[in-house]
Symmetry: C2
Subunit: 188 residues, 2 copies
DNA sequence: GCAACTAAACCGTCCGGTCGGTATATAAAT
DNA sequence: ATTTATATACCGACCGGACGGTTTAGTTGC
């Protein structure tokens, strides 16, 4: 559904791409409709034709970002071997993979805009997180799964805001440690 | 230094308090000088007398928030018994305690404003985080310390944005699990 | 007499949103 | 076949309000 019949990206997609790019370049508080329109290659009128208000645009950004995470997770599912903490491993691996693509940037920017403009825009995110917690709880035996998930949340949050102090080696070690935690648990 | 000679809060403090309150009420993107002045109980002129620009106000918010975290940590230091992962235990406990006070809100709001208005405002935060990592590394034997710290980062980030899906019992269990992780490590 | 304001008008810019108009395509009416 | 109508997708000038910041003239308390 990302492309219309002619194989060209729809205006909606171009606009969402442009908005995500812009936020990561100039910051969430400086996102303007004019800038988005220019970047997307259409007029402000055209932009507002596709999204009747700035709020509608932001909602769409959040929605797309959520859908992408869900898609990635489900695409990953068949590649992981079943076992304990499967849902936690899925959730963490998905997030960690997205940090490496540019996609994480988009998640970050969406969240930043939402936080800046209108905290209510985060409602759908709240829902997804709550659902993820349920999934993780549903097939985890101890608290290691929760800790691993939280650690990934922490790491990705740092990376979102360009606050991560970790070198590549650091990060690699951390990822492995999280995997160990999810498969072996906390020492007793 | 929070109060002036007469025991009354200085205008600067009142202004910073007002700004933090406002952000958590109306969102980072809607913070205006007029609103801050009104909430702080002085005129716009008075506000701009204390902070010559909005940017200066935001910088001061970030600075105060960093100082509060550092102070809290050092106040906690004599109360923890020495041992492995002391720095990690300090860092995590400090953050977790602040989540319970209202103080966490202030940290959150500061970060939100900074992210929204001007990513450069996060520079001092980046520095503090980097320094914290060094501290944690300096006295930890394995990766458990890093994981515990990251988990707390994740938890507090969720709580900052009111995204935490955890009940009080959940949270309690998680805190205990983090402590176990920091004292006993990952199973081998 | 200086620091720390108050009060209120004002300026310039930015920005979300409106609105009249346009181009193209497809369909309906004659 | 030609006109007329309708829908879609878009353009871009413009409006009005918000907001950061300035200025000015005065006030209060040490």
């Amino acid at each position: 559904m990302l492309e219309n019949a002619r194989g060209r990206k729809s205006s909606r997609e171009k606009i969402l791409d442009a908005a995500a790019e812009l936020v990561s370049e100039i910051g969430a508080g400086r996102l303007t409709l004019d800038a988005v329109a220019e970047r997307a290659g259409l007029s402000k009128g055209g932009l507002l034709y596709n999204f009747p208000s700035k709020e509608a645009l932001l909602q769409a950004m959040i929605r797309r970002m959520i859908d992408q995470v869900t898609e990635s997770r489900e695409a990953l599912r068949p590649q992981l071997k079943p076992g304990p903490n499967l849902e936690a491993r899925l959730a963490t691996t998905t997030l960690l993979n997205m940090c490496c693509d540019g996609k994480m940037q988009e998640i970050a920017t969406g969240l930043m805009v939402a936080t800046a403009e209108n905290p209510r825009l985060l409602d759908p995110v709240r829902e997804v997180i709550s659902e993820t917690l349920q999934r993780i709880k549903s097939d985890s035996d101890d608290d290691a799964a929760l800790l691993g998930w939280l650690a990934v949340e922490g790491l990705s949050n740092l990376e979102m805001h360009n606050l991560s102090p970790f070198s590549d080696q650091d990060r690699e070690r951390i990822v492995q440690a999280i995997n160990r935690l999810l498969t072996k648990g906390i020492a007793s």
